[in-house]
């Protein structure tokens, strides 16, 4: 679960299209539960199920090194638990957004907690300490004592990137299993959190203050570039193109989805050109990153086709 955030910071002008895991259910059955047209992925206790106590080791301040139990400590109070399975820029961005929003808007009405999952608790502790300022998490963070799969009673799915549970009275009220988390997931999650806290759901305007895209816009302004944010859906679709372990047919399908999405949309085509041109010019791309060779060739083609001046 280690990723150098400094390197990611350098790539901040490029939309975050880091590969994440694949669904555990990649061969869908016709009548199975679906979520946004995809086979539903499960992780953790479901709505209505009991939220059982589990142990973590505190990471920061007076909690550092202490064994804690966030569920028991909450005593039935509304709780938002964010289990971080994989550290990616989008996953930590969403975690930061959610927990910061909860902290500043719901106050004592809801406790936000981050549970770090790592097979090596010592290196997790060392990483969390070293990267504390860049992670910038404003709620208590605990390292699961049960390793990278977390508490067994929770049945967390290590194929996902984030598992987010909203609970009240020790019952799960909301469950989000996110393979490719992004800020687009925030409104739905925070709406559930607001319900638990007895507060109003966040407005788009209010959420903007917490958005990393807001940050990007500011950076772009500094660079003298237009302040238009990247389209998050385009970023999500591109992530599917550059999955390292994708089969050729999966890459083709992901490419088709991107082309369908940008068809007859000049602004999105321009964004795709900007993104792919930046990617092609990056060190990561020169080092062979960004998916399979088929995906890399497609990125080159898009850069040539849509970026001003091509690549």
């Amino acid at each position: 679960m280690k990723l150098n955030l400094c390197v990611l910071g350098v790539l901040a002008v490029i939309v975050a299209i880091l590969p994440t895991g694949r669904s555990a259910a990649d061969e869908p059955k016709k009548d199975e539960p679906k979520q946004d047209g995809q086979p539903r992925v499960f992780s953790g206790p479901q709505k209505g199920e009991k939220l059982l106590p589990f142990k973590v080791t505190g990471a920061y301040d007076h909690e550092a090194g202490k064994e804690l139990d966030y569920v028991s400590e909450a005593k039935g109070k509304p709780l938002l638990l964010v289990f971080v399975h994989k550290l990616t820029r989008p996953s930590i961005g969403l975690t930061r957004l959610l927990t910061s929003y909860c902290q500043e808007n719901f106050g004592d009405r809801l406790d936000g907690r981050v549970v770090w999952l790592d097979k090596d608790a010592s290196s997790a502790r060392e990483y969390l300490t070293r990267a504390r300022s860049s992670l910038n998490l404003k709620v208590p963070v605990g390292i699961s004592v049960d390793g990278e799969e977390g508490p067994g009673a929770y049945g967390l799915n290590r194929q996902v990137t984030l598992t987010i549970l909203g609970a009240k009275d020790d019952r799960v009220e909301a469950n989000f299993a996110l393979i490719q988390p992004g800020e687009t997931d925030a409104p739905a999650i925070l709406a559930e959190a607001a319900k638990l806290a007895g507060a109003k759901p966040p407005s788009a305007e209010n959420l903007k203050k917490y958005s990393i895209y807001g940050g990007r816009e500011r950076m772009e302004k500094r660079d003298g570039r237009p302040a238009a944010g990247r389209d998050p859906r385009l970023g999500e679709l591109l992530r599917k193109v550059i999955q390292k372990d994708s089969k050729p047919e999966e890459v083709e399908e992901a490419v088709r989805a991107v082309e369908e999405y940008i068809r007859e949309k000049p602004d999105l085509q321009r964004q795709l050109g900007d993104i792919t041109k930046s990617v092609v010019g990056s060190k990561g791309f020169a080092d062979g990153g960004y998916g399979t060779e088929k995906a890399r060739e497609q990125i080159r083609q898009w850069a040539r086709k849509y970026a001003p001046g091509g690549s």
Binding site: A24, A25, E27, R40, V41, F42, Q46, E149, N157
Partner: protein
Amino acid sequence: MVRGRPLHRIAFGAIYLLQLMESTGGAQDGAPLAAPPVTALAFSPEGRTLLAGSQGGIEERLWPGLESARRIPTTLPHVHDLAFSPDGKLLAAAGGKPGEEGAVELRAWPDGSLEGRVASHRDLVYAVAFSLDSQSFSTAGHDGAVGVHAIAGGKLIRKLEGHSRPVLAVAFLPGGEGLVSAGADMSLRVWDPAGGACVRILENHTAPVVDLAARPRAQSGTIAMLASAGEDRTLRLWQPGIGRLVRFITLPAKPLAIEWTPDGARVAAACDDGRVRVVNPDTLDLQVTAPLVQGAAFSLAFPPGGGRAAAGGEGGRIASWDTKE
């Protein structure tokens, strides 16, 4: 009943053949010291006898005294699994000759006469399971394939391919919800046995998956559940119909065979330290027996009526214990 067993586990057991057996607690039979490990156990449908399979063949013993009743002849040099059809009319013995043939013998019960022999795998068959309608059976092969056979004539209906390494276990889900296989590639695959399509892959284990057991629907209100045992020392509980890992427990020893109690209330694991661990699937509360056999316990079976249960281990030893204790 016991399902797939990795070859290296059996080889591991074999090194103990010449070692002296020690008293290990629990009731044990008086098997000869140099007998091969008991790799398969199954209770006869009426629960009066216990069948034990090994490289030494198939032996029927009286229950609960474990006295030898008869030997059932077999052409299988290795017996890795024994299973009765749900209607109780057939006994299937799975195994074969390593590197040469994987086969299943179907024997009429109770007389034990050979009804058919199916050899559809290129290497050992580690597990066999009957469909709940007693019309077909499935096999798990070291050759990486899962076979679906008609009982009538033993014809291979379908070969299910997709596992990248040997298949070690296979189980039909209650209610005709499909067939599940698992193996050394660390995955569980849920199949539509009629169409042959793999409808789902469950990839949470981090080491080979050695056994599967579908929860019997003996209790109303219990959810359909499948248990899997892995060399990662976990026992995992799934809702395979929707691809959900419900919960798991990490055991202090490797589980080698798993079996639900007949009432579906608990799942038991025979472990490589000779103990059996019994898990409550809802709370993950764990009970553990004293060591039942020396070395590893390879096989496990519950009689239809519950009560005492049996575990098989190295040196041909079979032990019983009271499941209520």
